[in-house]
């Protein structure tokens, strides 16, 4: 389990996160939503330890993240960031193999290569394996990086758990790949040691796929729980300053905005 305990982040006088206290269970799709500037990205950076100037504690399976060595953390925690450029041309498989870097020294072992092949297949990018990354479109790159972070966490680690953090993973994907991507993530969640936390902007996607939704506004955690609990008219209107119409149907929850 991944826990954020009383996280406060200040930069100068500005409070970016105000006493955020929540937890992320394995086997569930945890989605963070909130308006622009609410502190979603800051929270992701605190969770992933890309930022360490905060009050409070982040724990990975009850271990303070600040106490975990760099390499050990890289073996159990992967982050999908947005918009990654490469400084030099590399083949797609070389990029995906980077996910295994924390796991081997010297040359990749057979199990590293197998993880690579499997992740490429899982995201249906195996045909691109030999292509130059720099010639790919934005959406293709996004899928390649998803294969990369998955390669990083390919093998189960029941002791420490595995932690996959997705910072707006859907930005460059069309609707087909957005759905495909979310379904793949849900497929991954059958592996019980995997904690997935993602930031999404599309509330309908959150309503469609999220198991636990965390709503952040002005640096505070406003609500956290099932979609029925969090995606209410009152919460949404307050956070996004738009009055929603929410339909509760057999297929799930749907939001419309006037």
């Amino acid at each position: 389990m991944l826990k954020a305990e009383n996280i406060t982040v200040r930069i100068g006088n500005k409070v970016l996160l105000d006493n955020v206290d929540t937890q992320f269970q394995p086997g569930k799709l945890n989605l963070i939503i909130g308006p622009n500037g609410a502190g979603k990205s800051t929270l992701m950076k605190v969770l992933s330890r890309q930022m360490d100037d905060y009050e409070g504690v982040v724990t990975y399976q009850s271990v303070d993240s600040k106490a975990i060595p760099d390499k050990a953390l890289a073996r159990m925690r992967a982050v999908l960031s947005q918009n990654i450029d490469l400084a030099f041309p590399l083949k797609v498989w070389e990029v995906v193999m980077m996910g295994r870097y924390p796991h081997f020294s010297g040359a990749p072992r057979q199990l590293d290569e197998e993880a690579c092949v499997a992740a490429l297949k899982f995201f249906e990018v195996e045909d691109m394996a030999e292509r130059n990354y720099l010639t790919l479109s934005g959406g293709e790159r996004q899928r390649v990086h998803f294969a990369r972070v998955l390669t990083q966490l390919w093998y189960p680690m029941p002791e420490q758990g595995r932690y996959l953090l997705l910072d707006e993973p859907l930005t460059f994907l069309d609707i087909h790949y957005q759905f495909q991507f979310m379904r793949k993530v849900i497929e991954l969640l059958q592996q019980k040691d995997l904690v997935v936390v993602g930031v999404v902007h599309d509330l309908n996607l959150a309503a469609r796929f999220g198991d636990v939704i965390h709503l952040i506004q002005d640096g505070r955690l406003v609500a956290s729980g099932s979609k029925e609990e969090v995606l209410t008219e009152a919460h949404i209107e307050k956070a996004f300053r738009l009055k929603p119409i929410i339909y509760r149907e057999k297929q799930g929850l749907r939001l419309f905005f006037e």
Partner: protein, 343 residues
Amino acid sequence: MGKFNNKNKALFPILTIVLVVTFFLSLRFGAITISWAEIQSSIAKWISNNDLNLNERIFLQIRLPRAIAGVLVGASLAVGGVLMQALFRNPIVEPGLIGTSSGAAFGASLYFVLGSVIKFHAGEWTLPLAACIGGAVSTVCVFLLSKNRTTGKSSVVALLLTGLAINALFLSGVGFLSYLARDPQARSITFWNLGTLSGANWISISIIGVVTVVCLIISLRYAKQLNALMMGEDEAVLLGVNLKWLQIIVITLNVLLVAVSTAFMGVISFVGLVVPHLLRLMNGSDNRFLLIGSAIVGGILLSMADLVSRLLLAPAELPIGIVTSLVGVPVFITLLRKKQYYF
């Protein structure tokens, strides 16, 4: 496992053969052509301590160390180029462009002028040490000054302009010191600005050899981390790279490699630019491949350049920096005009 091995298994053997051939050509030709028989007899006599004739002495004391220097200096400059390009995430970075070489030249010439005054001496290592200090100062200056204060990234324009300024500063310092210097070698400004392997002897090549081999072996340990850095500093950190440590190691290795060569042979530009570029064209950008490949191709290229510099105006010599620049400048301009690398 076959699937992901980078193709071209024949590449390293072929390059090694080319290196050996170039090396032997470089042994034979120059102001004086030395025959195979003379090469054999001088090595035989060297081992058995017999008297040497003139050509044999030229071979053992001048030609052989010089040929070895060509291989070692080429290797060290090219490996330095790979390291700096990986660190700055930019294919146009080169020890000659970002001030390492000129700083090293300044440090070395300072030693020639003040060497008799200062008390500190480390034997044969004093000169390379002085060059390393100079090279470190200039490289760190360029690294820090070219960084954008808000984003923390070095843009190419900032890098080139800072490098230009630091180069100009240190090379004019070298010029000034050259006037004051008593040492005949240090007095020649062209020696520092354009480089030559004519000063190679057994002591200098042993020092360069030790430094080159040690630095290459260490740098291979960091190849993976440098690969991860291609995706940017944040991504590298997410893959467990200790960024500060990596920067310190890589800059130190580069300074050692480049400064020690420069201390004995002067500033030789563009080797660190051309060699990694050629290798990327052959087989991609994996730094493990680039580091080993650059050591070999750097050796080949500089040996060839030295051969040209010896033969073109024989029995006079052309500074080797002129030859490397003639090859390097077109490559540099091509790289600048290329859109692939998002400047």
